[in-house]
């Protein structure tokens, strides 16, 4: 039991922090309730997908700067497709396109041996251009039914958006995590040479991780159009936000350690801090300063606690 707690100490700590922050919100704004939770969950949706996508490539020891651009491509693709076909085929096609984009990123990194940060920076511009080619101005069409999916609550206090997110991410990640490819992803991120020597196909593992990143980015892009009801070709502010949440969520930049749950909780923490500061009528420009300070403080605190734990 203690082992289990130790292993998941970071995630548990984040959960406690999240609950405390929810409590503070309720204190500041007594009317904060089911509707508040719903809008929080909805607003967090694209951030959560972007963060899950980023977390996977960071675990494999890489980074993907093109996530926000891929989300834009997938968003406009889905919006355009839905003008001429049903929601389901449009979603399937979009997911395939996301996977392909991620796999292209990964393959470029593996084949050219150019550093991941350079390749994905270049692809950030490429995918941005592709999105604008598909749809030069915001447009497209998102079916009412689709927008409805993420509205309301399934149970009091359990927003539909949260359930959709959990199901979608779990559907991608759980089978991977429990199979050998998941193990390989952690192995490559932890020590590429040792993984290679253990018989892991390092190249394929990386391509797979980037492809998974692409799938989740596609989901993120579609969640975006479900929120706004329109396809938006210009990438949103998801890149740095996802890196922030990944770090706060206990995934080590450099790879090999962490999971998806921590980063997703971190997304909510960062969102709710924003809500609290807004409710407290703090200057929006100060908000980002507070976010940055909290991030450094939490990661530092975590490092200190871990260090103590090792020493003891």
């Amino acid at each position: 039991m203690t082992r289990l707690v130790q292993k998941h100490a970071w995630v548990l700590g984040l959960l406690v922090l999240l609950i405390a922050l929810l409590g503070i919100t309720k204190l500041i704004q007594p009317s904060f309730g089911a509707t508040g939770l719903e809008s929080l969950a909805r607003a967090a949706l694209p951030f959560a997908f972007a963060t899950a996508a980023m977390a996977i490539v960071v675990i494999v020891g890489g980074i993907d700067l093109s996530i926000a651009s891929m989300m834009a491509v997938c968003g406009v693709t889905a919006a355009v497709l839905m003008q001429s076909m049903g929601a389901v085929p449009a979603i399937v096609i979009t997911l395939c396109i996301g996977t392909a984009m991620g796999a292209i990123n990964g393959a470029l990194i593996v084949i050219t041996k150019v550093p991941d940060i350079v390749v994905t920076l270049a692809m950030l511009f490429v995918w941005e251009g592709v999105a604008l080619l598909i749809l030069s101005t915001p447009g497209g069409n998102v079916t009412e039914a689709m927008q409805g999916i993420i509205g309301g609550s399934i149970l009091p206090g359990l927003p539909m958006a949260l359930v959709v997110m959990a199901v979608a991410i779990a559907a991608v990640w759980m089978p991977v995590r429990r199979s050998k490819i998941g193990l390989s992803i952690y192995a490559v991120g932890s020590d590429e040479l040792a993984a290679f020597r253990s018989g892991v196909s390092v190249g394929w593992t990386k391509v797979a991780a980037y492809a998974l990143c692409g799938v989740l980015a596609a989901m993120g892009g579609m969640s975006l159009i479900m929120l706004t009801g329109i396809g938006e070709p210009v990438p949103g502010p998801y890149l740095l936000a996802s890196v922030a949440a990944v770090v706060l969520g206990g995934v080590v930049l450099g790879g090999g350690r962490g999971g998806l749950l921590g980063p997703i909780i971190a997304v909510f923490i960062l969102r709710i801090i924003r809500t609290i500061l807004t409710l407290a009528a703090v200057d929006p420009n100060v908000t980002t300063i507070v976010e940055g300070v909290i991030m450094v403080a939490v990661v530092m605190l975590g490092a200190i606690v871990t260090y103590r734990g090792v020493r003891a």
Binding site: R3, K180, L183, S184, Y186, A187, G189, S190, D191, L193, A194, A195, F196, R197, S198, G199, V200, S201, G256, R257
Partner: protein
């Protein structure tokens, strides 16, 4: 070994490989028959590591063939080499630090129970499947690596410096198990710098020099000298030093340690280290020597006892304090000491400009002269002129020690500087250490190889179970004496 024809398990012949202009291998070959343990030997830069990489599939040869059981093994990756029946155990552990034992076994498709049986058989107890690799001691990882290879039931087992980081009792277990494996009909390629192990375990030796196989020898008494001859291409005796009379140390010691303790491993370590002296530290693996060096280098604080530098009591809170007091630590792991991506020149010059307060312009000419002098002195093979990482391991190690020749150093803390390097380079390292001492430096020299003590040191302190149990003069420090002391066998005598 009298059978005329034995089934051949591995035949590598005519292997060549170049990296740009550097020809690492020109004509390397190796043959392993069923039931045979073959030692693969070669000085640093002979191409041994490249050959191993080709055999294990990490590199493809430019020409030549590797046949495993008579069929050409299309080894393009370690996974393929494994499928074809050759399983390597590398010099460094190839386990994933952030995964636990069970996941690591799963990753290589290793059957769990046989592997754990091997771990037990090799003499490591209490290994649990949920232990994280990063938390396990190096010796356990080496054993786990070997157990994993054995559990794969390979035709050919390749062991690269398997025993380098192991304590003596585990070494014996490894030799016993490997011999038994060969007797069951497997083939073993055994790479080691330790002649005692090779003569105990191996049937024959293949010697590499300058990228080609220069001979196959049957292991028999006295073969050591011939192997060394072949490795060097000329006869050089194994080395001896005129130890003469013991030094008389007078005056204030550079370092005086009294009752140092680092809970829980070190309980009572006292010694005096004088300028101009090389003081050996002899200890089996994990007797507390790591902690003692950590304390002296300022990496951690002692939990008890005290030490003085030049007669003044000191307490280091940071490695910078140790450096300011003139104590220079050279780690056994050269990767920790060198900037691998930078040139030899820069690595040697670095401490000139790294001194706190030297923000001024670099004294280029002066620096170049001394650096050039140091490089001549080190006899570094400058075939690969660029980055340090292109040098062979032994040459890298020479840079880590030799750069202090260029700077002048008051106190040098050498931690196992000759781990995993060949005889020739070792023989070049001892005079370096002596020369530093002759310049007036005080050198504390931990080595895991006992025969080095009389070659490099004036005296040696023996640490056993966290305490200094003996101090031995170099003149009396033959391997047997040291071995007995290191096992704590002289303790009773010392106490009475």
């Amino acid at each position: 070994m009298d059978e005329v024809q034995r089934e051949s398990l591995l035949d590598a012949s005519g292997i060549a490989k170049s990296f740009g202009a550097v020809k690492a291998l020109s004509d390397a070959s190796l043959h392993v028959a069923r039931g045979e343990v073959v030692a693969l030997m070669g000085a640093n830069g002979a191409g041994k590591s490249t050959f191993v990489k080709i055999l294990t599939g990490a590199l493809r040869p430019d020409s030549g063939k590797v046949l495993i059981r008579g069929t050409e093994a299309r080894v393009g990756s370690p996974a393929q080499a494994r499928r074809s029946g050759l399983v390597p155990v590398y010099q460094e552990p190839s386990l994933i630090p952030d995964l636990d034992v069970a996941d690591n076994l799963r990753l290589g498709d290793t059957p769990v129970d046989p592997c754990l049986n091997w771990v037990n058989d090799l003499g490591v107890d209490g290994l649990r499947l949920d232990h994280m690799i990063a938390d396990l001691p190096l010796a356990t990882l080496r054993i786990l690596d070997l157990a994993r290879a054995l559990a794969a039931e390979p035709d050919v087992l390749l062991l690269d410096e398997m025993t380098a980081a192991l304590p003596t009792d585990l070494v014996e277990n490894v030799l016993r198990v490997v011999r038994a494996q060969a007797d069951e009909g497997r083939g073993v390629i055994y790479i080691s710098h330790r002649f005692t192990e090779i003569s105990e375990l191996c049937d024959s030796a293949t010697v590499l020099r300058d990228g080609r196989s220069v001979g196959d020898l049957k292991i028999e008494p006295g073969v050591e000298n011939r192997v060394v001859e072949m490795m060097l291409g000329a006869k050089i005796d194994l080395g001896a030093r005129e130890t003469g009379t013991a030094r008389t140390n007078e005056g204030i010691p550079r370092i005086r340690a009294r009752g140092l303790a680092v809970a829980p491993k070190v309980t009572d370590v006292s010694f005096d280290l004088y300028p101009g002296e090389v003081l050996g530290v002899v200890a089996l693996e994990g007797q507390g020597q790591d902690e003692v060096f950590d304390v002296l280098a300022g990496f951690r604080k002692p939990t008890g006892g005290a030490f003085e530098v030049d007669g003044a009591p000191v307490s280091f809170g940071h490695p910078a304090d140790a450096i300011a007091a003139g104590l220079t630590f050279v780690p056994g792991d050269r990767a920790e000491a060198l900037l691998r991506e930078r040139s030899v020149h820069e690595n040697i010059a670095l401490p000139f400009s790294a001194r706190a307060g030297s923000w001024g312009p670099l004294k280029t000419r002066h620096e170049r002269e001394r650096v050039g002098h140091a490089i001549d002195k080190l006899q570094i093979d400058t075939r690969a002129k660029g980055e340090v990482q292109r040098l062979s391991g032994g040459n890298q190690q020479k840079v880590t020690i030799g750069r202090w020749l260029a700077h002048g150093v008051e106190t040098l803390l050498l931690f196992d500087p000759t781990r995993g390097i060949d005889v020739r380079t070792k023989r070049q390292i001892y005079p370096l250490v002596r020369e530093l001492a002759d310049q007036g430096a005080a050198v504390l020299f931990y080595t895991s190889e006992l025969e080095e003590v009389p070659l490099a040191c004036d005296r040696a302190v023996v640490i056993f179970n966290g305490r200094v149990v003996d101090v031995i003069d170099a003149a009396e420090a033959d391997e047997e004496t040291l071995m007995r002391a290191a096992y704590g066998l002289t303790e009773d005598k010392a106490a009475s």
